[in-house]
């Protein structure tokens, strides 16, 4: 496979005394979707902002295309609410050097694909959250960027719109763009070619989703109810829908009523968080 043109290496970002990212690495290959996941304050936004050129790294290296070849959708999502859909697209296209027929052709094509064609005369502030996210994505895709960076484009968006957004991202990747997005939804991240899990500014897990799941340490069980005394026996327990997951770092005896589980990416992330060394937190270390 061709090496990724874009990504970060040993990236550290400090905001004053606060360490937001601590020697993080990420490669974003062309034609693939790469997901960055993590809880609140994990450093997802900082990583994507650094990749997009909106924040200066304290150390490490960022490889990204020139601004005119990159597209970015911030968490905002960065559309002008007091401009119409068409006016937003015209501004964004103009900033990237698209004019006249070329701009009109690209805008109309993207509005068709995003289902916003009928709303092209409406103010962005009057659109639903999902429609605004699709508009932001259309603005970022107008100039057919080599690198597309999206900060939680599906957060707060209904499931149907999420599916449509993912279809658009898949199309952009299929057209050759390197796509990287932050998400809090692990079912989405599981669809990506590669996943980076951040925890308080550090890499917790990294790799293709299937490998992360396969490489999960310890033993995992599935139970219809929280077993009594499970934690005393060294089993960590958490709810997954109507059922419970049990995990132990040791390959030991089973738990009554529990069966071996089929773990997924969410399980792998939770287990990685449970299994991580209890080192001082980056922020504490920085302080």
């Amino acid at each position: 496979m061709t090496p990724a043109r874009f990504g970060v290496e040993d990236l550290t970002v400090r905001y004053g005394a606060r360490l937001a990212l601590d020697r993080v690495g990420l490669a974003v290959p062309d034609g693939r979707i790469t997901a960055v996941v993590g809880g609140d304050g994990a450093g997802k936004t900082t990583l994507l902002r650094a990749l997009a050129g909106a924040v200066r790294p304290s150390s490490g290296r960022v490889e990204r295309p020139p601004a005119r070849r990159a597209g970015y959708v911030s968490a905002g999502p960065g559309v002008y609410r007091d401009l119409t859909v068409d006016e937003n697209l015209a501004f964004s296209g103009g900033a990237y050097g698209l004019r006249g027929d070329r701009l009109a052709e690209r805008a109309t094509g993207l509005l068709e694909r995003t289902g916003l064609l009928a709303a092209r005369g409406r103010l962005a502030g009057q659109l639903s959250g999902g429609m605004r996210q699709k508009l932001a994505l259309a603005m970022a895709l107008l100039h057919q960027p080599d690198l597309l960076v999206l900060d939680e484009p599906t957060t707060g968006v209904d499931p149907v719109s999420r599916t449509e957004l993912w279809r658009l991202l898949a199309e952009a990747a299929a057209a050759g763009a390197a796509v990287v997005l932050a998400t809090v939804y692990l079912d989405e991240a599981a669809r990506a070619a590669g996943v980076l899990v951040l925890d308080e500014g550090r890499t917790l897990l990294a790799g293709p989703p299937a490998e992360l799941v396969a490489g999960m340490p310890g033993r995992m069980l599935d139970a219809p109810a929280r077993p009594a005394g499970g934690e005393d026996a060294g089993w960590a327990a958490w709810r997954r829908g109507p059922r419970w997951r049990l995990w132990s770092p040791e390959e030991g005896a089973g738990v009554a009523g529990a069966e071996p589980a089929e773990p997924d990416l969410e399980d792998a992330v939770i287990v990685a968080a449970l299994a991580r060394p209890k080192a001082p937190r980056p922020r504490e270390a920085a302080a």
Partner: protein, 352 residues
């Protein structure tokens, strides 16, 4: 509730500074600047006995120049060009001429010469013979209204982008900070220019304010003044986190201009320590230009100093705005070229 308010107030340092600092500032400024009493009248003497005027002149006259070879017409020209507030013409037809565009100086001169000291005739008021306040105020109000429209409206421009999250979008777009500055300022510039034209015409129509000079000189001064005013608005916008802060700062730049620009209180009546603040304010120079052009018909050459001062202020404000923009809009700069590939091991997996 009170505790919550106190905690919030403690973290809003600008409001605290405004609440504590502003009354002190106002007291000091009003104390030293709020005076209509012109103690000294800058005077020129012309005619054959010009050299004797300084010795015989009443105490309140400060003779700044003597031109023995000149006559009344030269004295009028010099007053028109703002070289002095008062001119004493000596010779066969002695006269005391006073610049009516400087209302308080003119009134002081009338008082001084009411008693006909040294046998001189009463002061003859030029340019604003009836000493109407509106004639003096309207040209200055044009500037004040432009400060209000320009600074307040523009100061919200970048803050709005910051609050709605679009500033970050601008930061990664292939736009240069100076392009963003010009793009931000240009529409407001157009609106303010129309505003200025309308206010000037209304002032002339409603208040019979004369317009004796060249409109082009006023246009030149107004363009420079707008550039500074709108630039200050953008600068405020770049240092404010929200619209409330922006308006607060815009007001803080307007208040000194109202009090210290010579619009209300004459500069010559201010204490020296306060007067230097006035010379840092763009409205001070615009007042000199608008009053000079409209009331006295001052020439371009005679207004070189305020025009140059506005140009300098414009460059400083523009430079600072672009620097601030650069911090907000180009934090990471352009990437190095050519792009080096990331580690193959990371690429294989998609991530490291």
């Amino acid at each position: 509730m009170a505790l919550k308010e106190l905690r919030q107030l403690r973290r809003d340092r600008r409001t605290v500074a405004l609440m504590v600092g502003l009354p002190i500032l106002l007291l000091v400024v009003f104390g030293y600047a709020a005076s209509f009493d012109v103690d000294k009248l800058r005077t020129i003497a012309v005619g054959p006995a010009a050299g004797q005027v300084a010795a015989a002149a009443p105490e309140r006259l400060e003779v700044v120049a003597e031109h023995p070879g000149e006559g009344r017409a030269d004295a009028v020209r010099r007053l028109r060009d703002g070289e002095a507030q008062l001119a004493i013409v000596t010779g066969q037809q002695p006269a005391v001429l006073v610049d009516g565009s400087d209302l308080f100086a003119a009134r002081a001169a009338q008082q001084v010469f009411a008693q006909r000291p040294g046998g001189l005739p009463p002061a003859e008021v030029l340019f604003n013979p009836d000493l109407e306040t509106s004639v003096m105020m309207v040209p200055a109000l044009i500037g004040l209204i432009l400060v209000f429209v320009g600074t307040v409206a523009t100061s919200l421009g970048v803050v709005r982008e910051r609050q709605t999250g679009t500033l970050e979008q601008l930061a990664v777009m292939p736009l240069r900070p100076r392009d963003v500055f010009v793009g931000k300022v240009l529409p407001y510039f157009g609106v303010a220019a129309v505003d200025m034209a309308v206010i000037t015409l209304v002032g002339i129509g409603l208040f019979d304010v004369p317009f004796r000079g060249s409109p082009w000189v006023l246009v030149l001064g107004a363009v420079e003044f707008l550039f500074v005013t709108l630039g200050v608005g953008v600068l405020i916008s770049t240092v404010s986190q929200n619209q409330g802060q922006a308006i607060q700062l815009a007001m803080m730049t307007m208040l000194p201009q109202i009090l210290l620009s010579g619009m209300i209180f004459p500069l010559s009546a201010m204490a020296r320590g306060v007067r230097w603040i006035a010379y840092l304010l763009p409205l001070t120079y615009f007042n000199q230009i608008s009053r000079g052009v409209m009331i006295r018909g001052a020439s371009l050459g005679s207004l070189a100093l305020p025009l140059e001062a506005l140009a300098l202020l414009g460059l400083i404000v523009f430079g600072l705005s672009v620097l601030r923009f650069r911090r907000d809009l180009a934090p990471a700069g352009e990437p190095r070229a050519p792009h080096r590939p990331a580690q193959p091991a990371q690429a294989e997996a998609g991530v490291r």
